[in-house]
Amino acid sequence: MKKIALALVIASVALIAPAAQGASSHALIQGSGSSWAANAINQWVADVANQGLRVVFTANGAAQGRKDYANRSNDFAVSDIPFRGKDPTTGQADTPLGRSFAYLPIAAGGTAFPYHVEVGGKLVRNVRLSGETIAKIFTSKITNWNDPQITKDNNGHALPSIPIIPVVHSEGAGVTNQFTTYLAKQFPAIWASCNGGLAKETEYFPLNCGRSSGNQKAQAGSDGVMNFIKSAGANGSIGMEEYSYPLLANFPAAKVLNKAGYYTLPTQYNVAVALTKAIINNDPSSPTYLTQKLDYVYTNADRRTYPLSSYVYAIIPTAADDSRMTTAKRQTIADFLYYSICQGQAEIGPVGYSSLPVNLVQAGFQQIAKLKTADAGVDLTKRDVRTCHNPTFIPGKPNQNYLAKIAPQPPACDKLGAGPCAAGAGAFNANPGTAKPGATNPGTGPAAPGATPTAGSPGTGKAPTTGDPTLGDGTVDGSDATAAGNVVATTLPADAGSGPPAALTVLVIALLALALLVPAGVGRWLVGRRGGTP
């Protein structure tokens, strides 16, 4: 009996001994660039701190991030676009100055249009705009919120006469490039008339179409843009910003009309749906491998599409002789990006981004592997898609996106010529699988009329209020809002195997049995030795 007990002790100790930590060493890395992606990156930086990774990220704009990279003053850059030689509109130089590089996508998101329109001292929260209306607003062809074209977007419900203040970034910003690419492709004539005749994208927005004065404002950085829009003097303003910024500030963003005739928000679902039509450069030998072409995203005919969806990229040094790199730094870049494109994807949906599909994650791993090619000391063991928990994955179908499959349909009130819906409808970013079975679907989740939770509207300086003004009757018609298909949440094979190993199960059963038998046996034995009951 004693021997068995001893054996059990040893077995148990072996079972509960902590797994050995990886021995690879890390070093502080510094990155800079896109403020579009900064809300996601800052979260990942905080997350990996408890893995011993030190990452400093400075959100100084994509253009500056690429410049820093070229000047070798950062270890990685984050940018919405690749190095292009020069800005197609301004001619600003844009090269890596000979530094080696590889791109890999790290997140998806939507370029949103946060706005500040007050009626009767309250924020309007359910404005809808078509792409053409937006194009005309930012080229100063539509200058008042009571413009008939805006009224038409809102199904005949007119806003009062408030001059429009378009707000753009004053620094070279990825969001400007995303937006002007959309304008150049979708509304070339409107855009060219504002951009010196060029239907080309740019990172530097031509303020007031290059005229010396006008209704537009340029603000520095995402903070500057959001601060301006939120300020009391900015009634009538509309800007462009990644969706996480209006979400953080609890400020409304305009719903944008898609090709199918629905006005949508850049929720993680609608972005995922839209990006199923992104054309990714799949030629590993191309210097712009993995970069995006969004022409078909803009025109994606799925009703759930948010047209201004895009990916954002990390730029990493791949040369073996890169002067800033050490084994420890490469390891840190590899592990930080592994976290970002894997587990990091699972948490960013509710805060305003969308997850990468599995094929891009896999391609990302190939790019990360270049760090090991440059330096054999980098350890990439087990850093692969099987440990990702990425909410987009469907086993065996690397080109499909689970988020896009389960994305809820827009409510009928979001249709062109219907509605408009109440504020909050179609606005929520549920993580798949967290809502209880039978709960309202995430697209319309909390938007029951009258129960819309709206916390403080900063523009009015008032604590939480209910009953913000809405355009129209604010109806929500949920009848059209059912998820497409019955895709069952699954995991990749490796995850499916994470249950108890057979040996463990046997051991557990044996232990339980022994736990019942041994004390009784020992007691009986002791009693037996003493002879008789007490």
């Binding site: 890390h26 070093a27 950062n74 003097g233 500030a249 699972a346 604590a463 994470s498 736990a515 020992v522």
Partner: protein, 887 residues
């Protein structure tokens, strides 16, 4: 087995559990405070004449004090202060920049690998080659105007060190160009033995952590400290581990030192009297070298540097490595904490995601590694987002758990427990230099002053003051406000520091801002002033904010006034003229991230966004307003709202805040309380138990009353909001586990993994918060059960069905709950699981599915089984043993 024997077995189990409890309570807490170190040294400067006679030019006794030298963590800031040093001249703005080396008589602080002792092998001693500098210029000098620059006249240098070219890279890379008349290279030797020769622009190789150009990221820690005219000075010094700088490579096993070099100037031996005759300069060159070495200083003490003016080479910081300077060093050994174990990079476990409050950042930062390294716990991640947004997402059923500090207005519409997990608060962080240019540490603030800053009521600069009639009667900034001066006497007045007109705050929504604005709203003086009454000195609220309704979740920017037309049309600031926007909002310039405010308060960075460096009217890509950036030491003034927990972690200074009632006319007579444990405990005692909504709230009227005069008014509770119905089983189990931990082990103070960092008041019975801890434990059960039940604040009101008595399974011996200091009765679970006989009667596997770890049959089962076995055996033996003795 008889009933009597059974009870004896139970007694044995109870004894064992009690022993475990005692052991875990007595586990020593990592000592956070390290004693300060003080050292003293007499330093001299000598000159040697042509005849070899020496004259002492200067002699001083320097005292050095270092705030912490042991158990250091990466990027930890320590305070170094000194007295008795030579005053510094040619002052620069950034003492961490390479330009600082051009100051005369700086007090140089360096982190060097090795110790300053002859008892260790030479390779483990400090020397200039093991000291970190960020740029090549700090360790390379050349001269083409004379063959005998000051460093070659160094009387303390060996003959070899005084030759024309010292430590030149060999072979000399082409990139380095032709040799100058005199060159001194100071290579850097890395921890792994690699030598980086350096040279002009790093032509012969630099360490990977070096910067090519001034860039983004964290500043260098090499400090060219400024000594005031009184011989005193102080500086923060950020210590680095191998994680931050692998070349330097300091760790718990690789000892390093802080080296302070009070630069006194080169000991001049221009005539070369200490050199072998063959190496001496000729008479003419010797006389010139002597004159150069003994040249007058270019700057007077305290004088600012002038662009393009070169300092006296012999007394500049650039020669910190010269033996004359190096021999005057004072070195202090630095001990580093063992790096805490960290989460595995690769993990199959899918973490629970908890969204919300940035007030929890430091606590979750220390809890998370515990959760992912302890097999009994499941990992979680804390996704920071606006509190309001987290509540909305939770309300909508789209996330599983949130950290926040308030119930949503109108309450949750679904069953959600608000379980207290932390008592912390907001703090007003600051960097303010006093009249001597030293860091002020006694700042006091009151609600009216905070209201003045937030309402954009200080004009900020002359431009606004002269053009904005409504504000022209107000002081330009807070330093000129008599109320501020009454609270903080003796601080220098600043006339053109826009940052002194602003309190940097969050632009995203946060309960922290709600708490701050509740504090302002409840103070009668602040409220009256906001409503339009002038303060006793005549300052009035910005009319755009008059009557502002508080509290709010994010501070509104209400002033829409542009800079005057003449300023816009004059294009003196092309970035602004290109796109005029409300000017005072650019001074306030709130930010979306708490981390930005913390960084700005750590490095005295002004967030005022009105600068236009290199703005070219004809090049729109240059027309971007920029923030003012780092302020010049000696002249700093920044204020910002930060989480209290960041104050200790990043060595910030935080203001004491008016507590209880204040006097409008004599604000200095009020009580001022710091956000320490005492202040937080007094604040927490005033929490209002809101039985109807099943939560605790901060009682602002009580805080503003005489009852609040010892209470820190920034005290804020943080709750984990978790639904008690509708959660997936897996998430419910993980959330319950987090709550149990937060109510017990997670409240143990310390800076190790799993402990509660400074800035949080432990939720314990000792701090009169036993009711909160008990509630969180009951909440854990309700969350695990997912029956839609939300516990009552008063445990007596809770129903008593079997479901409540369920033991928290899945907690192995290593994580016995109930080890909370001041144990809460409900938290002693040992008995049911421990008694082998009852085990059979309890549906163990069922519980584990609800409450257990990673999978249906994780390691929890064997652990419990094993515990039961041990306890059973122990019980039997214990029962038997005493009898044997009695016989």
């Amino acid at each position: 087995m008889s009933a009597a024997r059974l009870s004896a077995v139970r007694r044995g189990a109870a004894v064992l559990v009690a022993t475990l409890l005692a052991a875990s309570v007595l586990t020593p807490v990592a000592s956070a405070a390290a004693a300060a170190v003080t050292k003293e040294r007499t330093v001299t400067r000598t000159a040697i004449a042509a005849d070899g006679s020496s004259t002492q030019l200067d002699r001083r006794t320097v005292k050095l004090s270092v705030s912490a030298t042991s158990n250091l963590r990466g990027r930890q800031e320590i305070t170094v202060s000194w007295s008795g040093a030579h005053p510094t001249g040619g002052l620069v703005g950034d003492v961490n920049a390479a330009e600082g080396a051009n100051q005369e008589y700086p007090f140089v602080l360096l982190q060097c690998r090795g110790v300053d002792s002859t008892s260790v092998p030479p390779a483990k001693r400090i020397r200039p080659e093991t000291c970190w500098t960020q740029t090549w210029a700090e360790r390379f000098r050349n001269d083409n105007t004379t063959a005998y620059p000051a460093w070659r006249s160094d009387a303390d240098a060996t003959a070899a060190e005084r030759s024309a070219r010292v430590n030149e890279a060999s072979p000399r890379p082409k990139l380095c160009g032709r040799p100058a008349l005199a060159e001194r290279w100071v290579p850097l030797v890395g921890a792994n033995g690699t030598t980086y020769a350096g040279g002009t622009v790093g032509c012969a190789g630099m360490a990977p952590e070096s910067a090519n150009v001034g860039g983004s990221g964290i500043p260098s820690n090499t400090t060219y400290g400024i000594t005031g005219k009184d011989g005193r000075g102080s500086s923060r010094f950020s210590v680095w581990t191998a994680e931050e700088n692998a070349t330097l490579g300091c760790s718990s096993s690789v000892p390093c030192s802080l080296v302070a070099i009070p630069v006194m100037g080169i000991d001049c031996d221009g005539f070369g009297t200490r050199l072998p005759a063959a190496q001496r300069p000729d008479a003419e060159a010797g006389a010139q070298a002597d004159a150069d070495c003994r040249a007058d200083d270019v700057f007077a003490p305290g004088q600012l540097a002038l662009p393009g003016t070169r300092p006296n080479q012999a007394t500049a910081g650039a020669l910190w490595w010269a033996p004359s300077n190096w021999r005057n060093r004072i070195s202090v050994p630095l001990g580093f904490a063992v790096a805490p174990s960290v989460c595995a990079i690769v993990s199959k476990a899918k973490p629970l995601q908890v969204y919300g409050s940035s007030l929890m950042n430091e606590a979750t930062g220390q809890w998370q590694p515990k959760f992912c390294t302890d097999k009994a716990l499941d990992p979680f991640v804390h996704v920071q987002t606006a509190d309001t947004s987290a509540r909305t997402l939770l309300q909508a059923g789209t996330i599983s758990a949130a950290f926040s500090s308030r119930a949503p207005d109108g309450g949750f519409t679904r069953p959600v427990v608000q379980a207290p997990v932390a008592v912390t608060g907001f703090a007003i962080g600051y960097v303010v230099d006093d009249a001597n240019g030293e860091r002020y540490t006694q700042l006091r603030m009151n609600p009216r002053l905070l209201a003045k800053l937030l309402t954009e009521s200080y004009p900020g600069n002359a431009l606004v003051k002269n053009s904005y009639p409504a504000l022209s009667g107000n002081p330009v900034n807070i330093t000129l406000d008599p109320e501020f001066q009454a609270l903080n006497p003796g601080l220098p007045e600043k006339t053109n520091t826009e940052a002194a007109a602003a309190l940097l705050t969050l632009s995203s929504e946060a309960d922290l801002v709600y708490a701050l604005t509740s504090y302002l709203d409840q103070d009668p003086a602040a409220r009256a002033w906001l409503d339009g009454a002038a303060d006793p000195w005549g300052m009035v609220v910005n009319p755009k904010y008059k009557g502002l309704d508080l509290p709010v979740y994010s501070w509104p920017l209400l002033d829409d006034t542009l800079a005057p037309k003449s300023y816009i049309d004059g294009w003196t600031n092309p970035c602004y003229s290109n796109s005029p926007s409300p000017y005072l909002a650019l001074i306030a310039n709130p930010t979306a991230f708490v981390s930005t405010i913390v960084l700005n308060m750590q490095y005295a960075i002004s967030n005022v966004n009105i600068e236009c460096p290199n703005g070219d009217r004809n090049d729109p890509s240059t027309l971007r307003l920029q923030t003012q950036g780092r302020q010049q030491p000696g002249f700093r003034f920044v204020l910002g709202v930060v989480p209290l927990s960041a104050v200790s972690r990043y060595s910030l200074t935080a203001a004491r805040l008016q507590a209880g009632p204040g006097s409008s006319a004599h604000p200095e007579t009020a009580s001022f309380v710091a956000g320490d444990d005492t202040g937080l405990a007094a604040g927490a005692r005033l929490f209002h138990a809101d039985a109807a909504n099943k939560t605790w709230t901060v009682d602002y009227p009580a805080l503003a009353s005489a009852r609040g005069k010892d209470a820190y008014p920034g005290t804020i509770p943080v709750f984990a909001d978790v639904p008690t119905s509708g959660l997936a089983k897996d998430d419910a189990a993980k959330a319950a586990e987090l709550l149990r931990f937060a109510a017990t082990d997670g409240q143990r103070r310390g800076i190790a993994n799993g402990q509660l960092p400074p800035g949080y008041l432990p939720i314990t019975r000792a701090n009169a918060l036993g009711a909160l801890a008990g509630y969180t434990l009951r909440a854990a059960k309700a969350v695990a059960a997912q029956q839609g039940f939300v516990p009552f604040l008063d445990p007596a009101q809770d129903p008593k069905p079997a479901v409540v008595a369920k033991p928290p399974a899945g907690a192995g011996p290593g994580a016995v709950p109930g080890s909370v200091p001041g144990a809460v009765p409900a938290a002693v679970p040992g008995a049911p699981a421990g008694a082998p006989v009852t085990l059979a009667g309890v549906p163990v596997t069922d519980q584990l599915r609800t409450l257990g770890a990673h999978s249906a049959l994780g390691y929890g089962v064997p652990v419990i089984g094993f515990a039961g076995l041990v306890i059973g055996l122990a019980g039997a033996v214990l029962r038997w043993a005493p009898r044997k003795v009695r016989r």
